[in-house]
Symmetry: C2
Subunit: 340 residues, 2 copies
Amino acid sequence: MRIAVDAMGGDHAPALVVTGAVQAARDLGMQVILVGRQEAIQAELAKHDTSGLQVAVHHASQVIEMDEHPAAAVKAKKDSSMTVGLDLVKRGEADAFFTAGNSGGALAAALFRLGRIRGILRPSISTIFPSLTPSGFCFLLDIGANADCKPDYLLQFAMMGSIYAERVLGVTTPRVAIVSNGEEEGKGNQLVQETVPLLRASKLNFVGNAEGKDIPWGLADVVVTDGFTGNVIVKLAEGVSRLILDVLKQELMSRPVTKVGALLSKPAFNSVKRRLDYREYGGAPLLGVDGVVIIGHGRSDAMAIRNGVRLAAQTVENGVLDAIKHGLAGYQALAETPPE
Amino acid sequence: MRIAVDAMGGDHAPALVVTGAVQAARDLGMQVILVGRQEAIQAELAKHDTSGLQVAVHHASQVIEMDEHPAAAVKAKKDSSMTVGLDLVKRGEADAFFTAGNSGGALAAALFRLGRIRGILRPSISTIFPSLTPSGFCFLLDIGANADCKPDYLLQFAMMGSIYAERVLGVTTPRVAIVSNGEEEGKGNQLVQETVPLLRASKLNFVGNAEGKDIPWGLADVVVTDGFTGNVIVKLAEGVSRLILDVLKQELMSRPVTKVGALLSKPAFNSVKRRLDYREYGGAPLLGVDGVVIIGHGRSDAMAIRNGVRLAAQTVENGVLDAIKHGLAGYQALAETPPE
C-alpha cells in the first residue's frame, strides 16, 4: 500500500503533515510518499526517527495555496504538489492520494489529472458524519463539489455513497435518504422532487426524505444532497457543536460548584468531543474520479493526517474504485443514463 | 392589543394552547381571542381562573390537521380556526394571529385571507436563531415558505428581516449575510451568486457570505437563505443540539464520578438548554403577508404559546407591518422591482 501525501497542503503544512504521515507509516506499516518541496520536507523529516519506515519524498516545486482560485491555480502550476501527487496515482506509482490543502484545488486537479470514472457525471466530496446509526456514522454527500446539481448527479452520489458505506463502513444494504425540508413524500425543492422518483426506481435501499434533524439521529446510513446544502450541513453542525460545548464550558466555569462538577464530568465531555471530532476519520473521500483521493480538513493536525492516510488505505483495500466502476451497471436507473 | 389565537393548532391543542393563552392574558395584560371549537375551548377554559382577564372565544367549526395538505385543506375548510382567526385580523377585530398548527396551512390561509403586502413577491417564514451576536440571536429567513427562490425574493427577505431585527430585536443597522458554501465572494450556488450583487447594491448593511459555522457564531444579525436550506438549518441545529446534550447526559450517567459531576453541573446545563430553547421566543413571524401572523412550533407547550402570543404583540407594537410597507420604497434596489 503506497499512499502519496500532499506535504504542502493544509494550515499546518508541512510540519504536521510530515508528522502525521510518519505516524501512519509507523503505526499502520504503510508506505508513504511525501510530495512537495524536497528541502522543506527533508527538514521536517529530520525531526523524526524514520529508521525502518517506508517514507519516501517526491519533489514538486509549487504549492496551491488555500486562498487561490482552484481551477486557475491548478492550470497555472503544473508542478504543484497536488498535480504531481495525483500523477503518481495516475501512473500507478501510488495507490491513493491524500491532501489537506485547498479542497477546490484538489477537486480541480483530480478532474484534470485522473478524470471521471466512465459514466459518472460529476464527482462528489463525501464525509463521514456523526449519527446514531448502528455504525455511529452516516455517509453524507455531496458536501461541496457541486453547488448546483441535477437529479442524475444525486442518484449517482447515492449509488457511490452506498458502495462506500458497504465497503468501508461495513454497512450491509445501507439505507439511503435524501435531505429535504419535510419527511413527507412530495416535500422538497424542485431538485429533490425530481430526484426522489429516480431513487425509488433504483436498486438502492431508499428510505425517503431526511429532515435536518434526522441526519444526526440515525435515520439513514447514506444521506444524499447537493453540494451547497451538504456544505452548509457539515459546517453548521461543526459551528453548533462548538458553540454548545463552548457555552457549556463558560457556564460551568462561572460558578464554583459547577466548576467542580465540570472537573468530575470531564471524561464524559471528552467522550462526546471524540464522537464529534473530524480528526477521528481524517478525511473526505472524493468519489467519482478515476483514482482514490481523500481530502483532509484544512485545519488537520498530525492525528487527522494519520487517520486520513489510513482512510485512503482502507478505501484502496476495500476496492471502492472498482466497485463504483462495476456498480454503475448494477443500478437499474443508472443503466439508462448515458455518459455526459 | 388583541391577539387571535388558533386554539386548535399544535400537538397539544386545545389544552396547552388555552393554558398558554390564559397565561399571556394574565402575565402580559393583553386581550386574547381563542378561535376554534367553542365547546372544546370552554371546557379547557373552565380549568382556569380567568376572572378579570380579557379572554374571549370565537367559534370556528373546522380544524386543519397537522398532516393535511395545506392548500387543499385551506380551500376545503372555509370555517377552520385558521381561516376564521385570520379573518378577525383582516376585519380589524384582532391585531395579530398566532397558530401552532400546520405551518404550510398557516401560510396558505394567510396568503388566501390576508394576501401579500403590495410589492412583496413572496412571504417568508423567519425565525429567531441562537447566535453569539450582541443580542444573543440572529434572525434567519426563509425557513420553509419557499423551497425554491429567486434572487429578488432573497433581497426582499433580507429587507424584511432587517426591519424585523431593527424593530423587534432592537438591533440598529443590522448586519445582513447570505448563507453560502464559502465565505469568499464568488462562492455559492447560482441563486447566491445572482443575489449577492442585489444585496450589495441595496441600502442594507450587507456583510457578505455566511458559512454554516458562522450562523451560530454571530457573524450577522440577519441571515438570509432559500426556504429549503433555511429549513434544513433550523432542523439540523435542533437535531445536533439534542444529540449532543443527550449523548452528554448518557455519558455522564454511565460512571458514578461523572454522575456527581452532572448533578453539580446542572445549573450550567439548564442555562445552555434555555439559550437553545425555541419556547423562549415562541414563534416564527410570517413576513410579507398583509397582517401580523406568528407561527408556533407544532410541539409548543403552554410556555411556548404564551411567548408566541407575546411575540405577536411585540410585532404589532413595533409597527413591523407598516415599516415593511414603507420600507419597500426605501431600499434602492427594490424600488425597481415591479410587483409580480
